[in-house]
Amino acid sequence: MNSEITVNVCLGTGGIAAGSEMVMEEFRKEFETAGVKNAKFGDRCKIHKVGCRGFCARDVLVDVSVGDKTWTYQYIQPEMVKRIVKDHVLGRQPITEWLVGDDYHTFHDNQKKVILGDLGKIDPESIEEYVAVAGYTAARKALTQMTPAEIIETMKKSGLRGRGGAGFPTGLKWSFCAANESDDRYIICNADEGDPGAFMDRSVVEGNPHAVLEGMIIGAYAIGATHGYVYIRAEYPLAVNRLNMALEQAKEKGFLGKKLFGTSFDFDIKVKLGAGAFVCGEETALIASIEGERGMPRAKPPFPANKGLWGKPTIINNVETLANIPAIINRGAEWFASIGSEKSKGTKVIALTGKIRNTGLIEIPMGTPLKDIIFNIGGGIEGDKLFKAVQTGGPSGGCIPQQHIDLPVDYEGLKSVGSMMGSGGMVVLDETDCMVNISKFFLEFTQAESCGKCVPCRIGTKRLLEILTRITEGNGRKGDIELLQELAEDVRDSSLCGLGMSAPNPVLSTLKYFRHEYEAHINQKKCPAKVCNKLLTFFIREDMCVGCGMCAKACSVAAITGEKKKPHHIDSSLCIKCGSCFDACKFSAVLKE
């Protein structure tokens, strides 16, 4: 990267969706034409694709570095490239109105980047660039200078806990596995990131796949595994590609395969594509899936660490957990343990999304207060609406209300308020979100994703959903709240696997903090957030209606009438409350009450 001029373009899924490929193409074209003008010029600039740089809300983000100085542009579209090259690259005149503002810096300055540090700096498709930032030195050190026992000891000391959700101490897990007598062992990287609203793992694999592989190599050596699998969602095509690329490169370099780093240790990694089943995030289901079966969990014990893939001792770690390991080996357990809170060490990568200004991928020290994340890093609620709650832990987690805004974000903290870390998705909800609807949404999800093996989950989640549905549709009955509470507890306490045990969490936490919304739905048949259509009436404000007729066109039951250019009217006896008129109206003349 020693060219005089470098242009970094984000090529994560978010960036690409925002058009970064076209932007990059434009830069190439512009440089070519410019290059023709001046023979030497072309060689002196480099267009450099990098992984997700976090602040996805501002995509496409482009760094322009001239010499040692770097400017960052936001919201860049292809048509803007010509001018950047002309004014800034050639003319040395940065275009100030396109540069990022202070909030871009507050967004980053309040973070601590252990995992994401190299994302957005290096080209994820080039092993050389990873090696250039000290990549694979940890693996080399582990295999050539440390014994498996020492590595496991280091992990224990570091206090690293599983980033997949439950937060089980990684070193301890490894020691269980290593303790088994067995002719073979396996290590599996769980990249089956299934939680809706979570994209940490996807971004890490897309942006720095080698870090994950290096973590697996070290783990494999520590537990004595000679085979590894990465189980990754087929819905992540870009991540899969980069992963396969990385595997090839690592094999060529001799970091995978036989006699790694000149030691007698052999290790190879296969990629298995998930086929679309959320439950396969559960360890035993994931194993069944890798074995080619239906992903139906089985009762533990035996735990995978003792009897896992093909009946052999098996370690399953999630992407982020593994990505932490090279850093711990290189910088030491003490350094890692010095970050974070008392029981939760290190940092946590979080996908911060929902009704928040600075949507994106962030990394914070464990224990950071919720409000710092939402109001400093996140820059507060979108459109200056009122904060209502933040949903963490996906379908297994819960909703945290205003009153807990000072809560330190770590395993214990989130658990204490009835939610959980999960894989690290944070969905911010505002006053326009209905909490009954939210828990219905999650039950729809878990109900559809239940494998159907055990009774409480198979039928229990279905019944929970039915009760929530009738509440949101105005058919809630007296005693439904109590029934929800009881059934949710029973499903939690008697289900076979984590999915069933945690499926009721969204219900339980919303019942705890937003009971009044349930009561409003059931008793007054009202949806305070104006989300549950069946509980609303739609009408048109005469003074705001211009009579464009869009609403009438959108209405599928012809409930809207009115002459052109004259205010229209909704016949509530015909209205099916689908809300299409509300969407169709460009003058916000359609209201719901």
Binding site: A299, E449, C451, K453, I459, K462, R463, L483, D493, L496
Partner: protein, 348 residues
């Protein structure tokens, strides 16, 4: 040996024994729907949950291996509540037609509903409709009564090695069916029927036959091949209405299609019901009284013996009839007729 305590009773069991097996040895009754000692544990019905000191939440006893000094509770307010909810959930998706169900009175779900006193259902809601006619002649599949215990799938795979049925779909819509939901096309051993805890699987030949009232059970031995499977004949009056086999038999309750479903020949209308005699050569066989028939046999055979000697007579005994009959038959030929011309068709 491992030592543990279950409901304050202590017991020693060999390593690998599950908590459920240990409890059964103590005659402690733990409800189950998906457990069968002859198959691998599955842990799906969640009824055999127990509380174990030191464990955060209840665990299924069928999948939990006994460990030294374990202290187990098989009953508590919590366990009772959870089990009742589970049963209630199952019933909320189960046709309420025990009155006319062929398995009524021999249905685990029905028994549990009674024992846990599940009357009106708090969870009544949408129900599956997985029923479809299946043209096979032996096995009635009423999938709306399926509790997804997986016993049929496991017995077909683990014991019979056929895999004619499997789980399909998932969640509430999960079901057990042959590939592509076709008609059952298999060996029809009926092992699946024999392990089904509800009315989801039954014999088509059982339909409309008495269930308990006036039904007599007789332990006997199968009349087909040389395996000698133990069977129990269910009869009503002079009709055979069902064949089953006990888990405890040397054939472990397993039978084949002939043994389990091939019994209706016994009550066929074309059974021989009276002796027949061909009074002169070339004539037709005509009904006769027993005395006439016996007299006929004795005089004719005696005549042949007179004229041509005992070795002009021969007897073919039966590899299908009893030892006693065969013994008496050969004794008759040897000691009364006086010939060793006696054999049976073992060679075919």
């Amino acid at each position: 040996m491992i030592h543990l305590t279950i409901d304050d009773k202590s017991i020693e069991v060999p390593a690998g024994t599950t908590v459920l097996e240990a409890a059964r040895q103590l005659d402690i009754d733990i409800p189950t729907l998906c457990y069968d000692s002859r198959l691998k544990p599955y842990g799906a019905c969640r009824l055999c949950i127990v509380e174990i000191a030191g464990f955060p939440k209840p665990v299924t006893s069928c999948t939990t291996p006994a460990a030294d000094n374990m202290v187990v509770r098989t009953n508590s307010a919590l366990l009772h509540r959870l089990r009742k909810t589970t049963i209630e959930l199952l019933l909320s998706d189960h046709p309420n037609d025990c009155m006319v169900c062929v398995r009524s009175g021999d249905c685990t779900l029905q028994e549990l509903a009674y024992l846990y006193d599940v009357r009106e259902n708090r969870f009544s809601g949408g129900m599956r409709d997985h029923n479809r006619p299946d043209a096979n002649p032996f096995i009635q599949r009423d999938q709306n009564k399926c509790v997804m215990c997986g016993l049929c799938v496991r017995v077909c795979e683990e014991v019979q090695g056929v895999g004619a049925i499997g789980y399909s779909n998932r969640g509430f819509e999960a079901k057990v069916c042959p590939p592509f939901e076709k008609d059952l096309n298999c060996e029809f051993c009926g092992q699946c029927v024999s392990v089904c805890p509800t009315g989801a699987l039954s014999g088509k030949m059982w339909a409309g036959q008495p269930r308990q009232e006036g039904v007599k059970l007789t332990d006997s031995t199968c009349t087909y091949c040389g395996c000698g499977c133990n069977i129990t004949l269910h009869s009503h009056g002079d009709r055979l209405i069902r064949v089953s086999s006990k888990k405890t038999s040397h054939n472990r309750g397993w039978l084949c299609v002939k043994g389990r479903f091939g019994y209706d020949f016994v009550n066929r209308g074309d059974r021989l019901t009276t002796p027949l005699i061909r009074r002169e050569k070339g004539g037709a066989l005509e009904p006769a009284s027993w005395d006439e028939a016996v007299q006929f046999v004795v005089t004719r055979m005696a005549g042949i013996k007179e004229k041509h000697g005992p070795d002009a007579l021969a007897g073919l005994a039966s590899a299908r009839c009893t030892n006693e009959e065969n013994y008496l038959f050969q004794k008759f030929f040897r000691s009364v007729i006086g010939t060793n011309n006696i054999d049976h068709c073992a060679r075919y």
